[in-house]
């Protein structure tokens, strides 16, 4: 007990006190079960995990060393409520007390379930469970590979169902342990082996029913990846009607039981044979029908050809008939032509102008002589008339006057006949026309005369 006397105080170093505290805590809390919420989770890279466990009012530092952390089936997360077992100690360099965890389980969910959920989400995020990835099963497999335990009811059931449906199927069994530590690795390896062997058309991976723990290998990541990597379609049959394992999610088809898987994989042989028979029959029928149709086409064409031939003969006959008619028509036309020509000719002859011409010709001399006569008469009359006129003319002609000794005197300048001596001047030249010849005279004297008055009768 510490005394108040300064001389009897036991003075400790920090390390000594810390060491004492540590020993005390380690003695009092060698093993404690604790419930709390994880926060402040850190994984520095050494493999050790550090976090704080807290509740509403308090918190405690916690450490999970690498070896223990490796054994965890699930991942730690902030906010996760856990139940832990550990021992309390002190981290002396920092003077912090902490709990060193030896066991951690999630509160509420089982460790299995949480691990399962975390793994499922991680693999789903990679797209391993996508519907698009799933392949159809072959319709007519020849060899079925089965990854299962060689003992047990499951394999016997599967063989039985496969053979009942399709007795010809070859079965290749890849024996594995379906539960236990090695199981997952063996299953994955068996799937790979069947793929390598190559002569398998479809794979069934399965086992009979059991508890969730029994089935746990089928949730292993190695099995999932082996199924995903298989180039042969995989049917999973893990014998648990309601819960799905990750192998079920990854497989191309999930069957609720091994027998159901066998049914899914094997076609019913009798149906296949029947289908084959039906196909062959339909083949023959279709061909027969087609040949029949082509035959009918041929017959139709032949009938049409015969028809055409018949029509050609008919036409030839018509042509002959037409030729005969044509000849007849030409002959008739010729005859008609001849007849018409003859009758017209006859008419023509009847209307010949010859008589008129002859008549006319006969008349012409008559008319001619009458014409001559008339002409002569007319001529003579005119002659006589002309003679009498001429006589009159002669009587009146100034030339006759001249013959009687008269002369006509004209002025040389004006060419006018001079009747009056007073019209001329002495010394003017005048022209005197005599009955024969003319005189050019010079007036020596002008003698006015009482002589004859115009228009008076000389007698």
């Amino acid at each position: 007990m510490p005394s108040k006397d300064p001389s009897s105080r036991r003075v400790l170093t920090v390390s000594e006190l810390t060491g004492l505290v540590r020993a005390s805590l380690e003695t009092d809390f060698p093993e404690v079960w604790l419930e709390g919420e994880i926060s402040n989770l850190r994984a520095p890279g050494s493999g050790h995990l550090y976090c704080t466990l807290k509740d509403d009012a308090a918190q405690i530092r916690a450490v999970l060393f690498r070896s223990t952390a490796g054994r965890l089936r699930f991942g730690l997360e902030d906010g996760l409520h856990v139940i832990v077992r550990g021992r309390v100690s002190v981290y002396e360099p920092r003077g912090e007390y902490q709990i060193i965890l030896e066991y951690v389980e999630p509160k509420g969910l089982g460790a299995f379930q949480l691990a399962f959920e975390q793994l499922r989400q991680r693999l789903a995020a990679e797209g391993l469970f996508d519907q698009e990835r799933k392949r159809p099963l072959p319709a007519f497999p020849r060899t079925v590979g089965i990854v299962t335990s060689p003992a047990g009811a499951a394999v016997r059931d599967m063989i039985s169902v496969l053979h009942r449906r399709c007795p010809l199927l070859d079965i290749l069994i890849a024996p594995v342990q379906v539960q236990g530590e090695d199981s997952a690795e063996q299953i994955a390896s068996a799937i790979r082996s069947l793929n390598e062997w190559g002569r398998v058309d479809v794979i069934i991976v399965g086992r009979g029913g059991g508890s969730l723990e029994d089935l746990w290998s089928f949730n292993d990541e190695r099995v999932v990846r082996a199924i995903v990597a298989s180039s042969i379609p995989v049917v999973s049959a893990v014998g648990h009607e309601t819960d799905m394992t990750l192998a079920d999610y990854a497989a191309d088809l999930r069957a609720p039981t091994p027998s159901a898987a066998a049914e899914a994989v094997a076609p019913v042989l009798s149906e296949v044979v029947e289908h084959l028979g039906t196909l062959a029959l339909r083949c023959r029928q279709a061909m027969g029908w087609r040949c029949g149709a082509e035959r009918r086409r041929l017959d139709l064409a032949l009938a049409q050809i015969a028809n055409v031939r018949f029509r050609i003969l008919e036409d030839m006959q018509r042509v002959d008939g037409a030729v005969v008619q044509m000849r007849q028509a030409v002959q008739d036309a010729l005859k008609w032509g001849w007849d018409t020509v003859h009758s017209v000719r006859h008419e023509l002859v009847g209307r010949s102008p010859e008589p008129f011409v002859r008549h006319g010709l006969a008349q012409v001399p008559q008319l001619r002589s009458r014409l001559d006569g008339a002409m002569r008469y007319a001529l003579n009359r005119r002659k006589q008339e002309a003679r009498s006129c001429l006589a009159s003319l002669n009587a009146l002609s100034p030339l006759g006057i001249l013959d009687r000794g008269y002369g006509i005197v004209e002025s040389l300048s004006t060419h006018q006949v001079i009747r009056d001596a007073r019209q001329v001047a002495v010394g003017e030249a005048v022209l005197a026309r005599l009955a024969r010849g003319k005189l050019r005279c010079l007036v020596e004297e002008v003698m006015a005369d009482l002589g004859l008055k115009a228009g008076s009768d000389p007698l």
Partner: protein
């Protein structure tokens, strides 16, 4: 893989029947695939008739080499006779 060949043959046969029933092909083509179809159906039937079933076990020996061994499940004979009835 005999299974794949059989499946391909069946698929081709189905296709041929479809073509013939549609009746679109010219006659000489039809005759050709008809012959092929009949040949395929005969072959498939032959495969089915000649097949013998085998049940084997794939084992890997120490050297990693794989071998087949006959499957000796003690119940196999019982089930054989049951399924043949």
């Amino acid at each position: 893989m005999a299974g794949v060949k059989f499946e391909q043959a069946m698929a081709r046969l189905e296709a041929i029947v479809g073509e013939l029933e549609k009746g679109d092909l010219p006659l000489d083509e039809s005759l050709k695939i008809f012959e092929e179809g009949i040949r395929l159906s005969k072959n498939c039937l032959k495969v089915l008739e000649e097949a013998e079933r085998k049940i084997e076990v794939l084992v890997q020996d120490k050297n990693g080499k794989k071998q087949l061994r006959a499957f000796s499940s003690y119940d196999d004979d019982n089930h054989d006779s049951a399924s043949d009835s």
